[in-house]
Symmetry: C2
Subunit: 479 residues, 2 copies
């Protein structure tokens, strides 16, 4: 470990720069920690003293009775140097600087950032400036704002230059069961940067998957080395923003980053073994795939759909992302043929059942034939309504008497368990009406049911194939 | 018009091949028409007579007392030729063949399709075989299944080789207010194909935008000519599936299509002026953009966001799709600077407010400065919570007393009206928890509010930029 653990597990935190104004950043941060339930000691600090959020305010660090593990600084940019020096005098070794107004602004801001660097050199580690802090459920730390983040810890870590994105990604993850060990919004990366954080996370036993939203990197060579090393032990998902001229310019005024050229980053992704991410959705989709698919996954896909069109676009997506779709064996085709009407369906792969609402026995028989085929590694199930309510809400179809819809829901799970072959499910967000919110509620219940049993679920075929392809490529390289 | 109007406005329809089995395709189709409320005469036909769904069944077409405008045929593949010949004898000029089992299957199916072609040559127009029919709300026709499709007519037409996709796209469109003049699922395109339908729709006054999901095209030269001509008068959005080897193979067994090479299609898109679509989402997103953005739209974007990260990825997306993001004038920057804190924000373009929940007066002032700038054609608003509930549900933030959240919601609309400059809004689907379905309901209400006032709304920045870019490119070419 490279001495970063105090950032994640402090027993005492001083919040420097709280004020009576409850909308001030420092006060919001303090409030977030209190509401989230940080268990350690909390010392609000403000020259003027008084009290805030029912806590006594210390007028200086020196006045705090005990040791302080971590200082969180939210004072105007010009006052940050002084605050850090006060930290040094108090013997504080670790600080998060929330304050902005440094390298991301102008020449004066850059000078200010250089001054900060000099203080850092005297012996204090700094995350930030221009960041939203650290979220670590095990220790009760959270970002600002982030008081309603999940309390449970999980196997994913996220480092993000953007505070807003860190928050957005944790929120989007929450509903689909992705839980975090550590999330760091690291802003301008004056001292502790992407490479330090990755190095730390590569050895962190609580972390099985690392995600990164990166605008710029200070030391490209070191970053390449660290990502390469980390990728050997756990997947590193990197979303590199600012790859265009306009994006680069925006990154400069957001986190003061030098974003680097597109060509350079192509080389980086080829050499480092990092998983290259293209959007928020892609980041979360890929995490779901890594969390739920076995390391032994292969690239030979069987696509089973409720519509021929889905078979065509799913096949396009598989080929574009270099997954293979072997023709099923004669025996499997024969078995599937015996279950389906001979017209309007197809049996080679993609398998088209020609109805989004097959009978339970038909779906079971088809999936048995597919899962039992040696030439198939993974099954994608697309455009099918697996729950009771979907067909009624969407198609106006009610169940036939001989059907029990819960049985249909169980089929993919039973097949996965029986054959030990991974199944990926596409549940479309097909009904977007405000009045038909019940359909979406139902869809989310089905999604949660499968996710809780280790089956990845996606809203579109394209997203399912893309996430699967990321995992397959990584596993082929690193196992 | 090329004689296709009977397909859309028949006063009498014979459904050939209904049966007592209510899950049979013909019976489902008849049931869909009844439930959807087709107003014309309906004649179920089955050799055995009797009655179905409370209608008397005719044992032959000859027995039907009056004229029949349209026959819909759902009998086994081998019996279709006979049914079509019976249509000829009855003087029916127009038929939809729902039955499958033709060119999409095997050599026998292809022979059967050739026999159909011979009957067609005797003087009957056919849509299909292997299709789901026609949806035309003005006349009360619908697809199978499609009894719960919207009853209102609208300015968009869709032709789709895949019946399942036609249905899916209409359903997805429904919640976001896209309404259809005509939807045709045309399957194997034995007689009436993509070119005939486009030709018809190019002259159809009810249709302002045409969408097409195409797997293969029979006469490429004619298709290019028709698309080129149609694009001059209305946008033609084409989603070409089956562009990979695997997709091509799947298309062959889905609609018997020859999908054509990727290179050929690249040339087609460059020459025809069609808008090239890449997915269901892209199709619907682009329709929303065409329906809501003025023809005078330009490519100079101002991006106003509640997070710096959104500014970076939005800039990347704009540059990738060749939209420009001019630096705002000194005057506009000065005005924006006076409204925002000097740190943590940025004012050049992208404009980063550094909070997803700005004060109403701040958002108004910033948007006035941006919309008043000569160098800007369109404003994209990203990562902002514009409704009352969002911030509370997501961030745990309650409104400050001086704020009235409904005012915030009104700001983008007021700016669009005052300056006559289009605004595009990104409302993220940020909270995906099953238990927090209220957030999604609220989000949909806000979305519907803006859409009902002609402001396009998207779930992600990337999708917003992509849809906007489609419209800008089309308008630059055809106005």
């Amino acid at each position: 470990m490279n001495g970063l653990s105090e950032f994640f597990f402090p027993s005492s935190v001083a919040v420097i720069g709280v004020s009576a104004d409850t909308s001030a950043f420092g006060t919001l941060y303090l409030g977030a920690l209190l509401k989230f339930g940080f268990k350690g000691k909390l010392y609000p600090v403000n020259r003027r003293g008084g009290s805030v959020l029912d806590l006594p305010v210390y007028s200086s660090l020196a006045g705090i009775p005990g040791d302080v593990d971590l200082a969180v600084i939210s004072v105007p940019g010009r006052a940050v140097v002084g605050a850090l020096e006060e930290c040094l005098r108090k013997g504080i070794k670790t600080a998060i600087v929330l304050s902005a107004g440094f390298g991301e602004t102008d020449i004066e801001g850059r000078k200010l950032e250089e001054e900060l660097a000099k203080v850092v050199a005297k012996g204090i580690r700094v995350i930030g400036p221009n960041c939203h802090g650290v979220y670590c459920p095990r220790s009760g730390l959270t970002l600002v704002p982030g008081s309603n983040f999940p309390r449970e810890s999980g196997p994913v870590a996220l480092i993000s230059q953007s505070g807003g994105f860190a928050e957005m990604i944790v929120l989007q993850s929450r509903g689909i069961g992705i839980r975090y060990s550590k999330v760091v919004s690291y802003g301008n990366a004056l001292d502790v940067g992407e490479s330090d954080l990755l190095e730390f996370l590569s050895e962190d036993e609580d972390t099985k998957i690392v995600m990164a939203y990166v605008e710029g990197v200070k030391d490209g060579r070191r970053f390449l080395e660290v990502v390469r090393r980390t990728s050997r032990v756990k997947p590193v998902l990197i979303w590199k923003a600012g790859l265009t001229d306009m994006g680069r310019r925006a990154a400069g005024s957001h986190t003061g980053s030098l974003a680097g050229s597109k060509f350079l980053w192509e080389t980086f992704f080829a050499q480092s073994g990092a998983v290259e991410i293209g959007s928020t959705d892609d980041l979360i989709d890929t995490a779901i795939a890594f969390l739920n698919l076995p390391a032994s996954i292969g690239r030979r896909v069987a696509l089973v759909t409720g519509s021929g069109g889905a078979g065509v676009i799913g096949s396009d997506a598989c080929e574009r992302l270099k997954l293979s779709m072997p023709t099923l064996s004669g025996e499997a085709q024969h078995r599937i043929s015996s279950l389906l009407p001979s017209i309007g369906t197809s049996v080679r792969n993609p398998v088209d059942l020609a109805t989004p609402r097959p009978r339970t026995s038909v779906l079971r028989g088809v999936l048995e034939a597919v899962a039992g085929s040696d030439e198939i590694d993974v099954i994608i199930l697309g455009r099918m309504f697996l729950s009771a309510k979907g067909p009624e809400l969407i198609l106006g179809l009610t169940n036939r008497p001989e059907e029990h819809s819960d049985d249909l829901l169980e089929v993919p799970l039973a097949i996965r368990n029986q054959f030990g072959k991974p199944v990926v499910i596409v549940l479309s967000e097909e009904v977007t009406d405000r009045e038909m919110i019940d359909f979406e509620r139902d869809r989310r219940s089905v999604r949660d049911y499968y996710l809780s049993h280790g089956i990845p679920v996606y809203p579109t075929l394209e997203r399912a194939v893309s996430a699967l392809a990321h995992v397959v490529r990584y596993r082929e390289r690193f196992g």
